[in-house]
Structure formats: C-alpha cells, structure tokens
Homo-oligomer: 361 residues x 2
C-alpha cells in the first residue's frame, strides 16, 4: 500500500493506492471524522460487483449506508440526474451527518464530486475509483462537472475530496478496452513528466493489460504522485502548471466532440491527440522524429489507435475552436521537446494543425 | 463615494458605495479585465426601473449586454430557473469572454452568484444590489445559493464577486416595508459589532426610512465595512467568526420556515429573532434587561415587529431543529452581553427557547 499526500494548504488529503485493502476502508474514513452516514453514488453494475465488500467494510465501522444508482453512461452527468440525487440526499439528510462516496469511473466521480460541492455549499466526499482511467487521473485533483447540450463539463466546480481510495483489485472486472483507456493517460503522464515511467511502460505494458498486481500498483501510485504534485502547485488551473496535463487533450477533445462522443473513447482520442501534438511539435521544430516514433510504437503496442478513422479533418478543426479553454483567446497546446519535457505553445497556425490531422487520417 | 476593500488573500475585491455614480460603472468594470460581454440577471421590474442607466454606462465602455429575466420571487432560486439561465449562457457564450452581473436584491444575487460559480467551474461576476438588505448584507461575502423543496439555500457555493457596486440612488424605488427589511439587518450589525452605529441609528433611523442620501450612504458603507471585516477573517464560515452574523437568524429562520416563507419577510423575522435572542440571553444571565429594552425601542420605532403573530410556538421549535447548521450537532446561538458584544452559546435548553418564544407570542 502506498500513501500519496496531496498537500494543498487549505484541504490536504491522501491518495491511498493498494491491493485488496477495502476491508480497511471503514477505519480510514472514521479517522477523517467527516460524518456517520455514507451516501454512495454508483451504477447498478458496480454495486453488484463491488457493493458488498464496501458495505461490509463500512458497516464494521458503524457507518450507515444509502445508495443512489445512476445509469452507466455519460448521460448521467446531467442537470436532471444531479437534481434527482440532490433531492434524495436532502430528503434523507434530516439530522444526519452525511458524506458522499463516488464509487465508479470518471462519470460517477465527476457527478458525485459536483453534487458534494454544491449540496449545503459543500459536504465531504471520497473518491473510490473503479476504472484505471479514474484511478490515475479523474479521481485526483478536484475537478468535478456535469455536461450541457452545448458542451461537456460546462457546469462544475473545483472541489477536493477528503480521500482518494484506489484499490487495484477493483480493476479485475474491467475489459481490455477499458484498461487501454486508462493506459493512454498513463502514457501521457510518462511523456510529459516521467522518462523512467516511459521506459517501464515499454517493458511492462503487457503486465498492466493482464492486471499484474505489482505493475498496476506501481503505475497507479506513480501516476497519482505526478498528478498530485502538479495539482498541488496549481489547484485551480490558474497558473499554467496544470495545463501540461492537457497534452494530447486539445485534439483529443476535438476528436471526441467531432464524433458526438461516439466511437473513440477518451483514451483512444487522447492517444490520437498525443500523436498529433508530436507531429505539430515536429513541424515547429520542437519534437524530434525519433521521439514521435518511440511514442507511436508504445501506443501501437498497447493496442491504442494511431490513425483517425471516419472523422473529416474539417470537423475536428471546427470542434477545436469550441474548446472552453480558448474562448476569447488564442489556441494553446502542450507540445513536447523530449520524453518527460513539455513546452506550451500559443497561436499554432491552423495549417500546421491541419497538416498533422491529415497525416493521421 | 467610499471604497471598502475585502482583502481576501486569493480573490480580493472592492465594495463601492456611492450615490448616483452608475455612469462610472463601465470604466470600473473595464479596469477589472473580466470580459467583454455582460450577462445581466435581473427581474422585469428592475430592468424597467434601472436597466437603461446600466446599459448606457456599460455601452459607453464598449461592453455588449444580454439580459436574463427571472420572476421577482423566491421561487426563482430554483434548480429549474438556474438550469434555464445556464443553458442560455452556454448558447450565447460561444467564443466570447462573458461575465455575469447580478442586478437585484437577495434572490437575484444568490441565484446569479451560484450560476457564476458553477458555469465553466466559475466565471467572474459583479453584484449590483438594488435593495437595502442586499446592499448591506447579501451582496457581500460570496454566499450563493438556490432552494430545494426540503429547505432554503440547500444548494450553493462560496464564490466571491469581483466587485460589489452599491448605489443608494437605486433604493429610491423601494417601498417602506422593503427599507425596514434592510434596516433589520443594519440594526443587527450595530448590535453585534458597532455601538456607535447603534447610537447613530437611534437618532437617524427616520432619515434612512425617508431615503436621506447622507444617512443611507453612511449606513450602507458602515455595514459593508463590518461585513467585509468579518468575511475576511472567516470566508467560508469555518472558524466560528462569521457565525456572529447569525445573530437573530436562528429563531428568525425558524419563524420564516414555520410560516412556509409567507407572512413575515426576512427582516421582520430577524427582528423577532433578535429580540428572542435577547430574551434568551436574559434568561441565561448574559444580557441586561436595559439592553433588550433599548433594542426593542429601536425596532419598534422603525416599525419592525416585536410580537410573533399567528405562528404556534411549537412549529417554530420544530423548524429550528432543521437548521442546516445544526445537523448532527447541538444547537448554537449568538447572544449578546451588551450592544456591540456577542457571545456564542451551544446547547441552549429547549425550555429557555420556548420561554422566549412564549413571551414574544
């Protein structure tokens, strides 16, 4: 088990990464002194797969439990679902000290975190991520949100959990595509910040995809630490430090938006986005050809895509203009000069972006 | 014109109190560099009364303007209204730099501030309070919220504006009952923190009720300064400092809730709550009889109620148990030992509260 501290000055918390340690969850939460009633937001499948273990661990420490179930889909990140759950919490919450548990992947983490942030102007919550992507990325850092028709994550808050509890045994129920989804973000961390991790991934990616416990625990803890360090320095994405986490995400988000969030999942789109960012870096003389090739080899090896299929380049360019980070400003992209080294570039010519997209189409 | 600084470490802002200074609004906002498009949330009456002046001031500084109108009622603080406005903002906001203006009383300030806090995880907003109550209290300090059926202000955020712009000329359209509504909070500030202000009010309350500009400007600025100092020391009501602002509000809120938010308005309920708190203080040997009498004389003189009519004491006690500040804890009340001096007491016996309520019924 590894404990990573996210030492924010106002609300520090721990990210605990381990294997089969759910039985200790109740005791851990008790120590936080955040309430007696756990309000768990999850989906029916996860409750069936993991609910029982969680219940036993919490009841052992005398917590009361209530579940709210949402559909296992991005559509759950809606104002409608959030309202329904908040009303249920308010009805349940008379004379209780409740806290919220987000038990699930990114959709549930974002939704539950947002609900926790606005109910009574903020109640404590805990992230128990159940996907590889959520364990290494979305559960850490306090970005919460729901979607509008006009765009994803348009309504939300920065609101930190009291604990992130990552148990790699929860990942055993994931399919190969979901594991690759997480691996894309893991590769991103390695590329932007951690040459050693990149070398490790080149050798051990197969262990991760086959759920080898030591490779998983090492990787989840290593990525959690990278993210924790970045978030600590720039909690609310105001200082341009957290920006580097967007490597591969500018084009990645545009690909997701251009296909109406069907087709490529987040990790697949980010893989394509990372390769486009490498190509753009090459065009601008920042990224060496051999660096791009090395990243492409790893992405290919783990089974993530390297070619954008069935999305017209024009649609991706259009979608990229709607990035909420650009509104009223110039475009901005995270590029790399080597593995582990980033450079933020503003005002990248459209022709350069178009050329990269054409190359990958 | 007076400028009061609310020197919060992360997001300091100014409260500007003046008379007929709206023509300078555009220049002021320009200096803040918060965007080019003003999205103004208000109600139809206020837009009719004051919209034109605001428009002229903003257009002079080249701001674009869009209005969102809500009903002039507490029911506008709903998830439904908030969603409708957020969707409108998102549709309007493509490639723009928008900021939000809350133009109105407490309902609009709470609603618009909450919307600003969650749209894109926070966009800048400005408070232009148009009631005396909002100028001295709700526009300052960043408490934003909407209501649920289960209770008022159950969903919200702490989210600070970039500017509070109080113009006492906006108060000319208010009726006497609305002015008294604000005076109740002004009396509260004097009682908890400012003996000099209390003496002043005893002499000058009539000037305030007849909209005398120097009395109004003095009082609004003085109360803004008191609130700013308290909020600076305890932005998120975590340190028990901001708690003293709840003087009169424990019973006040319970009275409002017991009557289903019909009948007494907030200031009237707070007046009754302040007198009950004095009575409770007397019972506990903290408050002198002559202090209570002096406060009661002022409350009577300004035309605020001193007797609770038509609400059974039992219902108020019941409602007081649902105070969201007590959940899972003991009750807590702000009492006074003299004018300008508070004492926070926990665990006040029900019998003592009941006795005070009976006396005032």
């Amino acid at each position: 088990m590894q404990i990573i501290k996210l030492a924010l000055s106002k609300h520090p918390y721990s990210i605990i990464v381990g294997n089969q340690h759910i039985q200790g969850l109740g005791v851990l939460i008790k120590k936080l002194n955040i309430g007696d009633h756990a309000y768990i937001i999850t989906n029916p499948l996860i409750r069936k797969q993991h609910g029982n273990k969680i219940d036993i661990a919490l009841k052992k420490s005398n917590f009361r439990i209530r579940y709210a179930l949402v559909k296992d889909a991005e559509t759950s990140k809606s104002i409608g679902t959030a309202s329904r759950i908040i009303r249920d919490i308010a009805a349940y919450d008379k004379k209780k000290r409740i806290f919220i548990i987000a038990l699930g992947g990114g959709v549930i983490g974002d939704l539950a975190g947002f609900i926790a942030s606005i109910y009574k102007r903020g109640v404590p919550y805990i992230q128990i991520p159940t996907t590889l992507l959520a364990q290494v990325d979305s559960s850490i850092g306090g970005k919460t949100a729901i979607d509008l028709a006009a765009g994803k994550n348009l309504v939300g808050a920065f609101y930190q959990p009291k604990l992130v509890f990552s148990d790699i045994s929860l990942l055993h129920t994931l399919g190969l595509r979901q594991l690759r989804n997480g691996l894309a973000e893991i590769i991103k961390y390695a590329v932007i910040k951690d040459r050693v991790l990149f070398n490790y991934l080149e050798k051990k990616y197969q262990d991760i995809l086959s759920l080898g416990p030591s490779a998983l625990e090492f990787t989840v803890a290593r990525c959690s630490l990278i993210k924790a360090r970045i978030v600590k320095r720039d909690e609310k994405e105001e200082k341009g430090i957290r920006t580097i986490l967007n490597f591969g995400h500018t084009i990645g988000h545009a690909i997701e938006a251009a296909q109406g969030y069907h087709g490529y999942n987040h990790g697949e789109a980010v893989s394509l986005g990372m390769l486009c960012a490498c190509d753009i870096g090459e065009s601008l003389g920042l990224t060496g050809r051999e660096t791009t090739q090395r990243i492409e080899r790893l992405i290919t090896a783990v089974g993530l895509p390297t070619i954008i299929r069935k999305i017209p380049c024009k649609k991706i360019i259009e979608a990229h203009f709607h990035d909420k980070k650009f509104i009223g400003k110039k475009n901005r992209m995270v590029l790399i000069t080597a593995i582990g080294k980033t450079k933020i570039k503003d005002n990248i010519p459209l022709a350069t972006i178009r050329k990269a997209l054409k190359k990958r189409s």
